[in-house]
């Protein structure tokens, strides 16, 4: 009896072990939190700061290695540990650090507002000297504000434009002038479908990877978007109209068949690189992606097709941020400040931009220096018409997450557009 119940107990314990082991991952909370900046015990004066930085390219790690070596030579009392994390993981990484109260000292991410809302961040004034802040592009600083105060500084920005395959356009007898408006895009797509077989006329990547951007580009070209005049405006008529237009394109087979599962990098960009796509919403870094994939396609860029009454074309500006986490007693402030200032010194910042590869600078001085760059010029030219994410809203990350998951469903045949938009709107507070 004892032996037998022991066996049964073992089976239960085994199953419990398997179950709990898997579930525990989500609930675990570190107990050793907060001890990030006590430095080495041998020299009481020294401070260690941890930087979690985004991996724009593989050049980022060598860049930081060099930067940190020179910084530490100038500042012997400050140790800097930089961890370069890929874009797939960095969001979760920083969030887990926050949740386990194991805060880094400097973060580098595409949003900041939810951290600011929780009172975790230094203000921009505390991160950088006034002269450096004055050199920042105003729009970018504006986008770094939470409830009127800047809590982050822009590290760089990107802009987007429309890309088309010239060979496919030639074969279909189309030119750049045919895709200025939404009606033009539809007509062009129909023409491509009729004349060039086995090609996707328009790539529509509304899969989770980047759906929030794809949607905003189309919506803003129709005067819609997430946020208007200081308030969330997700269920607007303009957005419904936008999704109806896209739904029509999908239904007529002018796009990839299932936009909701079609991602940007492995879907749209990859197909475009192979010459299988007529046109798509591209970005400033698409040329380098094409180069990386050894693509030999013949392409050109154009403004985003518009459906605005005044015919203006927008671009989507996306900026990323540096922000500094306060620690207990704010003992890391001086070190964080010193490192941020060092990074934004003209030469170091130029190196940062070079390592990141093909992005727009956040400072005016770097912008002037780079305006002669032919590849960047068209993007710098459209920046005045840029729309941005409502990144200053604390609930933006949740809205973004829901948009990524669900907006693609709204363009499926017969989908209930309003219920999808309402689902997203429910995440906005």
């Amino acid at each position: 009896m004892a032996k037998i119940s022991l066996r049964r107990g073992a089976a239960l314990a085994l199953s419990g072990l398997l179950a709990a082991g898997t579930l525990a991952g989500c609930a675990a909370e570190s107990t050793d939190g907060g001890a990030t900046d006590t430095g080495s015990s041998s020299s009481a004066e020294s401070t260690t700061i941890r930087v979690v930085a985004a991996q724009y390219t593989d050049d980022m790690q060598p860049y930081y290695d060099d930067l940190v070596a020179r910084f530490e030579a100038d500042n012997p009392t400050i140790n800097v540990e930089v961890e370069v994390v890929s874009w797939n993981d960095i969001d979760q990484k920083i969030k887990t650090m926050v949740q386990t109260n194991d805060l880094p000292d400097i973060g580098n991410l595409n949003y900041f507002s939810s951290f600011a809302a929780d009172g975790l961040l230094y203000t921009a004034d505390e991160l950088l000297p006034a002269a450096t802040l004055d050199d920042m592009v105003e729009t970018f600083i504006e986008n770094s504000k939470y409830e009127g105060t800047a809590y982050a500084v822009p590290d760089l920005a990107s802009a987007r434009l429309f890309f088309y395959n010239k060979d496919i356009f030639d074969a279909a007898g189309l030119t750049k002038d045919d895709i200025v408006t939404w009606d033009g895009v539809r007509a062009a797509a129909e023409k491509i479908k009729a004349t060039v077989p086995d090609v996707t006329p328009l790539a529509l990547p509304l899969g989770p990877e980047e759906a929030q951007a794809e949607f905003l580009i189309w919506a803003a070209s129709n005067n819609g978007g997430y946020y208007n005049n200081g308030a969330w405006d997700i269920t607007s008529d303009a957005n419904v109209e936008t999704l109806e237009y896209l739904q029509g394109l999908v239904a007529d087979g002018l796009t990839n068949p299932s936009p909701a599962t079609f991602n940007r990098t492995d879907g749209a960009f990859a197909l475009f690189a192979q010459g299988q796509v007529g046109m798509l919403n591209g970005a400033i870094f698409l040329p380098s992606v094409l180069e990386e994939q050894g693509s030999t396609i013949n392409y050109d860029i154009a403004p985003f097709p518009t459906n605005r009454a005044d015919g203006t074309s927008i671009t989507l500006g996306v900026q990323d941020y540096f922000f500094g986490f306060k620690n207990e007693g704010e003992t890391n402030k001086a070190a964080v400040q010193a490192f941020m200032s060092f990074l934004f010194e003209a030469d170091n910042y130029a190196g940062f931009l070079e390592a990141a590869g093909g992005f727009l600078p956040a400072t005016k001085s770097a912008g002037e220096a780079m305006s002669s760059d032919e590849a960047l010029a068209p993007y710098i030219a459209v920046l005045p018409n840029a729309v941005f994410y409502p990144g200053a809203e604390a609930s933006w990350p949740a809205v973004q997450g829901e948009t990524q998951q669900t907006i693609g469903l709204a363009v499926a045949k017969g989908a209930d557009i309003m219920s999808v938009l309402e689902g997203i709107a429910s995440k906005a507070e």
């Binding site: 009896m1 037998i4 119940s5 066996r7 049964r8 089976a11 239960l12 314990a13 085994l14 199953s15 419990g16 072990l17 398997l18 179950a19 709990a20 082991g21 898997t22 579930l23 525990a24 989500c26 609930a27 675990a28 909370e29 969001d91 979760q92 969030k95 887990t96 650090m97 926050v98 949740q99 939810s114 951290f115 809302a117 929780d118 975790l120 899969g207 989770p208 990839n256 068949p257 299932s258 909701a260 599962t261 879907g267 197909l271 299988q276 604390a394 609930s395 990350p397 949740a398 997450g401 829901e402 990524q404 998951q405 669900t406 693609g408 469903l409 499926a412 689902g423 995440k427």
Partner: protein
């Protein structure tokens, strides 16, 4: 102990207690108990605690939330679909796996030339990382580059390429197939081990009595496999229920939330929707569901009772 009876000197009593302790089972199972406490019970406690805390989108704990997270979770429009899909997913995958494994185990138990290599081959899906298997399938099934579409098109079985992962109707069956594929080796080997414990004399006796092959299987083999089947089923139930990589790699629970199980939904709530409290509440619910799975099964098979006899 009765205080009125004269107590032995304190020192001696202490010593004898220690001796009794050392002679008993406790010293042997204490490390195990500590391990269970540390890696099973403590996370369960933390999980429960997190589920009643209010946690902001950025991960900061704001204080006690009571049952608010649970209320929000049960109001979540995607929860019901995920739960019913999870039950469908677990039951289908486990049932198909067990069914196929019974045949495979029987095959591997038979003597034939090259049996050793077939046994090795069966381990491959087990040895390969699930992420890798799922990634391979994801690209084999891709609407544009997938080898499956190429084959179907070349054979003229379909008119145009099918985007298998494009909608739940086509992706869910494939998720089930892949889950069965990776569950087969373990299940087959457990059943095979069971088959090998059946003594040969029993079969000889059956043969002497003139039992047909079918009768032999259902009256002898199958009943004697009960313990192996029980173990295979329970462990598979738990594994498949908690299965994350296959779904995450192949569909990400999408499009929308249409292929989410409660496990992937739990992840998405925390890291996509920024609802950490809700996610913790769902993990408690998941824990409850898995306990129910196990208890129902124990009850249904009469496993405990039979063994107690």
């Amino acid at each position: 102990m009765n205080t009125t009876t004269p107590a032995p000197p304190a020192k001696r009593r202490k010593k004898s207690l220690i001796r009794r302790f050392l002679a008993g089972p406790l010293p042997w199972i204490t490390p195990m108990l500590l391990l269970i406490l540390a890696i099973v019970l403590w996370p369960v406690y933390e999980m429960g605690r997190t589920s009643v805390l209010e946690i902001s989108g950025s991960g900061v704990t704001k204080g006690f939330a009571g049952l608010e997270n649970y209320r929000e979770l049960f109001d979540n429009p995607n929860l019901l679909g995920a739960i019913s899909r999870t039950f469908f997913w677990v039951i289908t995958v486990v049932a198909i796996t067990i069914f196929i494994s019974l045949f495979l185990a029987q095959l591997l138990n038979a003597k034939f030339p090259g049996r050793r290599f077939v046994r090795y081959a069966l381990i491959v899906p087990w040895a390969a990382s699930v992420i890798m298997t799922a990634t391979s399938f994801r690209w084999m099934l891709d609407g544009y580059y997938g080898i499956l579409n190429r084959i179907l098109l070349d054979l003229g079985l379909v008119e145009e390429a099918i985007d298998w992962m494009g909608s739940a109707e086509t992706s869910l069956p494939w998720l089930i197939i892949v889950a069965v594929f990776v569950s087969l080796p373990f299940t087959t080997f457990v059943i095979l081990a069971g088959l090998q414990t059946v003594p040969g004399e029993v079969y000889e006796a059956a043969k002497v009595d003139g039992a047909s092959a079918r009768k032999t299987y259902f009256s002898i083999t199958f009943p004697l496999l009960r313990t192996s089947l029980f173990i295979a089923t329970v462990i598979n139930l738990i594994n498949v229920f908690n299965q994350f990589p296959i779904i995450w790699v192949m569909t990400g629970g999408g499009p929308g939330y249409t292929t989410d199980t409660t496990t992937t939904l739990m992840y998405k709530l925390a890291f996509r929707s920024q609802e950490i409290g809700q996610s913790a509440a769902l993990s408690v619910v998941n824990f409850g569901i898995i306990l129910i799975f196990v208890l129902i099964y124990i009850r249904a098979t009469g496993f405990g009772k039979r063994e107690d006899r």
